[in-house]
């Protein structure tokens, strides 16, 4: 497991949003299921109530993501912030669903720190990843397999092009497979999120992956 490294942020965005950052850390892997992770997820799920989901937005870190969503043209009541989406999934599922160890690790990190962590396949990347606005004509593969473009919307990208929407999972190039090793973990911090929390989110995800 490597130390966290700061990914790059487009200069215009950095000026506009001081504090917007992408911290990345490579984990050796391979990803393996850890029953301890599922127990921790179950413990968290047992503490989540409807009121928890609503009261979250009063806490500083989730509030920072909600404000940032607004500032980049996303409605957090429609496209939920990562932690609100994770809490919502726990409420709808009524407990713990474990699609796989990688998803579990990322879910655990966001539920414990409210900071989203995403996984990328470092072998598919061209240089370090960063955050920038999508370019005109640039398209991304969505979860349903369709290719969509939205110029100006923020993306995580490398030198070769966009990898995924900011706050979205990679589904095309850069998406890790079940046997991908190593794995690149990327945590997105917005203005108002303490750097210590970002390190913790990466630590939790990496620890849950057995790194």
């Amino acid at each position: 497991m490597s130390d966290p490294v700061e990914g790059w942020v487009d200069l215009g965005l950095e000026t506009e949003f001081p504090g917007l950052s992408l911290a990345v850390r490579e984990c050796d892997g391979p990803v393996r299921a850890d029953p301890g992770v599922q127990e921790r997820l179950a413990a968290i799920a047992s503490r989540i109530r409807g009121r928890t989901a609503i009261e979250l937005r009063r806490e500083p870190v989730p509030a920072a993501y909600r404000a940032f969503y607004r500032q980049v043209g996303l409605d957090p009541d429609v496209e939920m912030t990562p932690v609100e989406a994770a809490v919502g999934r726990r409420l709808v599922d009524g407990g713990v669903r474990t699609p796989g160890p990688l998803t579990d690790a990322l879910e655990l990190a966001v539920l414990e720190t409210c900071i989203p962590v995403y996984a990328l396949d470092p072998g598919a990347l061209d240089g370090p990843p960063g955050i920038r606005p999508a370019r005109p004509g640039e398209q991304l593969v969505d979860a349903d397999g369709a290719r969509r473009g939205s110029p100006g919307r923020l993306v995580i990208a490398d030198a070769a092009g966009a990898l995924c929407w900011l706050f979205g999972e990679a589904h095309g190039r850069g998406a890790p497979g079940p046997s991908t090793a190593p794995i690149l973990l990327a945590a997105v911090a917005v203005p108002g999120v303490p750097p210590m929390g970002v390190d913790e989110a990466l630590d939790i995800a990496a620890g849950a992956l057995g790194a």
Binding site: E16, G50, A67, R70, Q71, L74, D75
Partner: protein, 162 residues
């Protein structure tokens, strides 16, 4: 309800709706608008949390392009959040009045159950957690009904999870 906001460091005069980079001198105004948006978002969230478990109907937000918002768009968003906050506070005040009325009705019901035969007041109407319902019922069933023996009962709460 009016929400007054200061546009700290903002240049005087109208803002254009055209997208301009922060380097063109809009920076301080954009920062101030972003701070206002963040603060308003927190204030709306506070009111929504206070109203829980009642859901406030705040209407949809204006559709914004998914990108860094231009000056005019930030202003539009700020204005929408100001309106939303005012509406949220109005609905919360209305909710508080409704709950106050329900509490007053419950007090009268406890003092004189016979005048409130068959009336039911839920914990939710009172703004209290739980699924209990206060209701006026006859003591000893049909005998109480015939004799005019009325009492206030509260149900035992939420059904058990199956």
């Amino acid at each position: 309800m009016e929400v007054l906001l200061e546009l700290e460091g903002a240049p005087a005069g109208p803002y254009t709706r055209d997208r301009q980079s922060p380097q063109t001198g809009e920076g301080p105004a954009r920062r101030a608008l972003r701070r206002q948006v963040a603060r308003l978002e927190c204030q709306v969230a506070d009111v929504v949390c206070e109203a829980f478990p009642e859901a406030l109907d705040l209407g949809p937000a204006p559709r914004m392009p998914s990108r860094v918002l231009a000056m005019g768009e930030l202003e539009e968003l700020r204005d929408h959040l100001v309106d939303q906050l005012g509406e949220a506070r109005r609905q919360l005040a209305q909710l508080a009045r409704t709950q106050e009325d329900a509490r007053a009705r419950l007090e009268r019901m406890l003092l004189d159950p016979a005048s409130f035969r068959g009336v039911r007041i839920s914990q939710r109407e009172l703004g209290e957690p739980g699924c209990g319902v206060w209701r006026v019922a006859p003591r000893l069933g049909i005998i109480g009904r015939m004799m005019g023996w009325w009492q206030v009962k509260i149900s035992s709460g939420c059904p058990l999870a199956t």
